[in-house]
Symmetry: C2
DNA sequence: TTCATTTATTGACTAAAGTCAATTCTTTTG
DNA sequence: CAAAAGAATTGACTTTAGTCAATAAATGAA
């Protein structure tokens, strides 16, 4: 399927936004920025499209430019949602460098979604050329790790109702973007229970 | 409190183990290894001692040489355990580089524990001197992030009984090293419930 | 717009976890 | 060793979530 002029224009505008980010870092020459941009692909996905299926071996990392991607596992034939990625969030590859680990989960688009994608191969090249980027990457991984530690801690220390209220507080937009049965599974309850939790909260 | 000769000998033997790890990497000269070792401290802690308290600003990362460290939050006056670190695991600082974020949790030793500790300051120096170490650090952070993503996913997709069975399978030693009421809180249930879960499983 | 499908809610009932109090078992320590 | 403190278990009861079936509401495609 060939890209329409519209789409090409859109991709260029996204690339330009990324260009601005690189330039804002202040440490790169114009040619270097262009070289780095060459290593990144911009792709769009339709609602419902999969980025990854269980068993796939992925060798790329993505950042969400716009849209929403759902991570889920299939356990006993049931979809169990474990994360929603939205604008600005990164989906790190389950594979670092040389390993070839098949994914245990699925990634599917909840909405029409635009990603910036870099292959591990290109990432390696980028980091060799610009060690500063590897350093930044390490620090953002560290931050992301802290986030996950905190998410796990929050999950352990709260019950489903509190988790729903948390979501309402910290990612309210999700409630409108995502079907409720997927939210339910993300909160670790059945759709029926989430419906009752919402009712309970409403009555308070 | 001065170190006894015993303790000095012990710390030296630990340092020597770390020395061997560096040498095994194959890319460093003997003086470089010694310089790197200078940046790392070995410390021992008694059972019950705290490495970190809520509100503390920590500027170091640790690796568990031996022993067991429990991470917990205090929520409504109750300790909520969210992780157990054992031999070979790393406790990354909640602060990367320049930020000064006070900790939201506690770290306390479940047993007599030995740590290797590096300050963020020294870490920075180490990475500047040996970029390969920063690259390794990035990759191990990536792996650790994958671990956490999977732990969160497992937590979301399982009920307390399954979580207990999981622990039995993947970290059986914890069941003997850690008091049951702390495990209960780690599994997200009350001590009474865990006691009943164990009974239920036993009767099957 | 209409029909079909998907999603959300409700009801009735069951299973599991929470709470509080009492008891037993285990570990510490003076 | 004995007393005290800490940890684990058990019982009775309450609250919350799970399950299954029915219905209502919303969404999407022809």
């Amino acid at each position: 399927m060939a890209n329409t002029p519209d789409k090409i224009a859109y991709i260029n505008s996204v690339k330009n936004d990324i260009r601005k980010c690189f330039i804002a870092l202040g440490s790169f020459k114009a040619e270097e920025v262009e070289a780095a941009l060459e290593l990144i692909a911009i792709k769009t996905y339709k609602k419902g499209e999969h980025l990854l299926r269980e068993g796939d071996i992925s060798a790329k990392s993505c950042a969400i430019v716009s849209g929403c991607v759902r991570q889920y596992y299939i356990v006993d034939g049931e979809e169990k949602t474990t994360f929603f990625y939205t604008e600005g969030q990164s989906i790190f590859s389950p594979n670092s460098s040389s390993e070839r680990i098949p994914a245990k989960y699925y990634l599917s688009c909840v909405e029409h979604t635009t990603l910036s994608i870099i292959t591990l191969q290109n990432q390696k090249e980028l980091y060799q050329r610009f060690p500063m980027l590897e350093s930044m990457s390490r620090m953002s991984l560290q931050e992301e790790l802290n986030n996950y530690q905190e998410m796990l801690a929050t999950y352990i220390t709260t019950n489903p109702e509190e988790r729903y209220l948390n979501l309402l507080k910290h990612r309210p937009e999700l409630l409108h973007r995502v079907p409720q049965y997927q939210l339910a599974s993300y909160l670790g309850v059945t759709p029926e229970s989430l419906s009752r939790i919402r009712k309970r909260i409403f009555l308070k």
